[in-house]
Amino acid sequence: GTQVKDVVIKPDAPNTLLLDKHADYIAAYGSKKDDYEYTLSEYLRMSGIYWGLTVMDLMDQLHRMNRDEILEFIRSCQHECGGISASVGHDPHLLYTLSAVQILSLYDNLGSINVDKVVEYVKGLQQDDGSFAGDKWGEIDTRFSFCAVATLALLGRLESVNLEKAVEFVLSCMNFDGGFGCRPGSESHAGQIYCCTGFLSVTGQLHRVNADLLGWWLCERQLPSGGLNGRPEKLPDVCYSWWVLASLKIIGRIHWIDKAKLRTFILACQDEETGGFADRPGDMVDPFHTLFGVAGLSLLGDEQIKPVNPVFCMPEDVLQRIGLHPEGFLTSENMLEMSR
């Protein structure tokens, strides 16, 4: 037989959910302003805040975060072009524009920013072939297609871009294995698949996915340890408990994964000492993996955690409040409300 790349879960690995420890870890994370790693990750700060706030909300601990400071921070990150940057002094980008809009949705405070300008910014990034650039420097990636439509959906402004062309581009990134890559011709990758199935859900085009084929590729990500990898012959990583699981949920095939084994793996990625989740058992924790560990457990049905929406990776109650239909469309009632 051939060696399978995988981890071995030690018998003394954590096997219960340490929600309180994780909440404490995240609550304290923001005050690490004199930490080297924290500073180095400034280039993604807006996403970092979104990860922290979302996991706290999922654990019903959002009140422990500094709402006013964060709202002010976001305001100071919107640029003249409408786009939003990861932090003060950094350049705007679709990734952080989405994160900002997600945060403002959590806080029900979309009025903090100039929404029309955000829409203009997103619209301006669509290319002739329907793809989206991440910013004015032109990098094309299906991640950005997702960022674009997710942002617009949360703002109730999906129709601002050419959806037909956008869909055409994403579908042109579909591969022989039913998966999706960054650009046409790129290899299938769980992260891209999450973005593309999320995109197709928001744009009402899920029927274009070969759910049986893609579902098989996705459930083949599960390794003997119970963890999920991102593509064949890679090590498992807790963040794939999100990218893979959410994708399976979106295409209606989540039952093709062994849920009990995955839960065991995710729990083993916790750090009993510091709180938080690491990519795999024994590694260093961070807010990114903490969110996706908790979100993954929510998708698996853990009742201690709020239900999470698989497309937006936000609590379902937030999306209900906004009035987003499961397939990503605003309900007619809510569209009326928003236009008043």
């Binding site: 051939t2 004199d34 930490d35 080297y36 500073t39 180095l40 280039y43 993604l44 940057s85 002094g89 950094h90 350049d91 910013d135 420097w137 032109g138 990098e139 579909m174 591969n175 022989f176 294995d177 039913g178 890559g181 960054c182 650009r183 011709g185 790129s186 290899e187 990758h189 009402g204 085009q205 029927h207 274009r208 070969n210 049986d212 084929l213 579902g215 098989w216 459930c219 083949e220 599960q222 003997p224 119970g226 593509r231 064949p232 012959e233 990583d237 095939r253 039952h255 093709w256 994964i257 062994d258 084994k261 690491a278 990519d279 024994g282 590694d283 260093m284 924790v285 990114f288 993996h289």
Partner: protein, 569 residues
């Protein structure tokens, strides 16, 4: 953020590390402040290049700094000679190479390198391809590098077979070579642009040709034995994909009662907006199309009602034409005097509904592959890749003839690969339903039995539009799904001895008269609500369900289901 092992250390080691990080942080912050300050001032000079270089060397994901460098370089283009610009960008490439050595997976570095090549007066694509060769030799799963390579290949028109040879070398020397196989899957169709297998490899592209071949699979097979995982993987994917079927109307059903017209398509369509037109006795009809299940934008089944009195008189004969303007196709259906209903439908076998047409040549290739896999299975009876490939080869060659063997192999698969047993159950269910639909051709189209088939899921319900009696007894079904509403002619449903806990799909079945749900898992009264919307339902058997243990079940049910005279609890 990935792969950082947590190390145990002493208090002294901790302190030393803390001090060092504090020092590093100070330097970093100072350099960053200097960078931002310069940018604010509008400085686009050598100094700024130096500062950004320092930070990017250790933090290439700091995207804003690559932006700043681009601004500086663009400015330099306007004040320097072409030769100087060439040198400047080549220095940039050298810097990028050092960055990539440290971190070969930074989006920012690869994008910047591509940008630099686009600005270079004289880009050296051969060198760029060489960089990719070296990078992929170190890690042939680096998708950043593969994507960059594809860009270089496109920009410099590298011949397809040269790239195919490159993948050959990698596949031959490396076990983990999924990226190479993927690349091949995109290259082979370029060699055979007119061939139908393009459709097989690109499932989203609609095929104009009704025939499909497996020539690509054949190429793999004919090139000799490869590591079995890859061999199994490629044919597997190819067989699972059937190019999107031609979009067309597969069935039209007309019923005088309710003046209903039901149209089934070969795949989901958006009929609400435009495109679906009804002509009755030469007159276009203004009707509203509703999807089944309801409120869905894309559906294979659409229903409309003609104005009352249009076709209700059984003494009148009518000619109905349904036009699908998207593909300029139509279907005709005659409703004769004395008949209450009529339909027009393609035969399932004619359409090759579930598999691709195979030429004699292709068939023999697949048969010999089946033989080799079977031999391999004898040596490794627990080899899941082998089992799966054999099943798929059998489906392609003779789904009905190999049914018994297929079921046996699925049983083994479920034992050998426990984690994915639900997947195998669902896939096996799909195949058994397909076989039953295929057999339907030789029997009746209105009575359909799926009992005792170990079904974990229902599918292909769009093929069952005409079914009046369906038997789902003794399976492992958890729900009657929303798509069940496609069975517009259903009169009798038998679904005893399952584990059904949801009846969503039983909403608004206008012809449904009798439902048997003995020994299922219906727990709450509210789950029976869909049945209240079936106006002709008179018989319901709920024995053996948890819900009947509730107090007042008899009276609550009678209230909910006023019309059901024969309620068996």
């Amino acid at each position: 953020m990935h792969g950082r092992v947590k190390l145990k250390s002493t208090a002294q080691q901790e302190e030393e590390r803390r001090k060092e990080r504090e020092k590093k942080l100070k330097v970093y912050l100072a350099t960053r402040e200097a960078c931002f300050a310069k940018r604010k001032q509008g400085a686009l000079d050598e100094d700024a290049l130096q500062l950004t270089q320092q930070l990017l060397s250790s933090n290439p994901d700091f995207a804003t700094l690559w932006n700043y460098r681009r601004e500086i370089l663009l400015h330099q283009e306007t004040v320097r000679e072409e030769d100087e610009v060439q040198k400047l960008y080549e220095a940039e490439l050298a810097f990028l190479e050092s960055c990539l050595k440290v971190n070969p997976k930074s989006y920012g570095s690869w994008h910047h390198r591509g940008w630099v090549c686009s600005r270079l007066p004289r880009p050296d694509w051969v060198r760029e391809l060489g960089l990719c060769d070296r990078c992929l030799l170190l890690d042939d799963r680096n998708f950043h590098c593969w994507d960059y390579r594809r860009m270089v290949v496109k920009a410099s028109a590298v011949p397809v077979d040269q790239e195919l040879q490159f993948t050959d070398r990698l596949i031959g020397s490396n076990f983990s070579n999924y990226s190479s196989w993927h690349y091949r899957s995109t290259l082979l169709p370029l060699l055979h642009p007119q061939s139908p297998e393009v459709a097989t490899l690109c499932p989203h592209r609609p095929s104009n040709s009704p025939t499909h071949s497996h020539r690509v699979c054949e190429e793999q097979l004919l090139k000799g034995i490869r590591p079995y995982i890859e061999l199994m993987m490629m044919p597997h994917s190819i067989f699972l994909i059937r190019a999107e079927r031609e979009e067309m109307i597969s069935c039209v059903y007309v019923c005088r009662e309710g003046e209903k017209v039901v149209v089934a398509f070969s795949r989901p369509v958006k009929a609400k907006a435009v495109g679906l037109m009804l002509v009755l006795d030469g007159q276009p009809q203004e009707v509203e199309w509703v999807s089944a299940p309801p409120a869905v934008q894309h559906s294979p089944v659409w229903i409309c009602e003609l104005p009352p009195g249009t076709i209700s008189d059984i003494n009148n004969e009518h000619n109905l034409t349904v036009h699908w303007t998207e593909t300029h196709t139509h279907r005709e259906c005659a409703l004769y005097t004395g008949r209450t209903e009529s339909w027009c439908r393609d035969s399932a076998t004619d359409q090759e509904l579930f598999r691709c047409e195979l030429s004699v040549e292709k068939t023999s290739v697949l048969q010999s592959e089946l033989q080799s896999c079977t031999q391999l299975l004898e040596l490794e009876p627990q080899n899941k890749w082998c089992l799966l490939t054999i099943i798929l080869l059998m489906r392609a060659l003779d789904p009905l003839g190999y049914e018994k063997e297929t079921l046996a192999h699925f049983q083994t698969l479920k034992e050998v690969d426990l984690m994915r047993s639900c997947y195998y159950s669902d896939l096996c269910s799909k195949f058994m339903i397909e076989n039953t639909i295929l057999k339907m051709e030789y029997a009746e189209v209105r009575v359909f039995s799926l009992s005792h088939k170990n079904l974990s899921i229902l599918c292909h319900l769009d093929q069952l539009l005409l079914v009046t009696h369906i038997n789902l007894c003794s399976n492992q079904l958890i729900r009657i799904p929303p798509e069940f509403s496609m069975l517009q002619c259903l009169e009798v449903l038998e679904a005893d001895d399952n584990v059904i806990e949801s009846l969503e799909g039983l909403n608004n079945h206008l012809k449904l008269e009798a439902v048997s749900l003995r020994n299922n898992n219906i727990r709450l009264m509210s789950l029976l609500k869909p049945l209240a919307s079936c106006p002709k339902l008179t018989r319901l058997d709920l024995r053996g369900n948890p819900v009947i243990q509730n107090e007042n079940v008899q009276s609550e049910l009678s209230e909910l289901l006023l019309l059901v005279k024969n309620l068996v609890l």
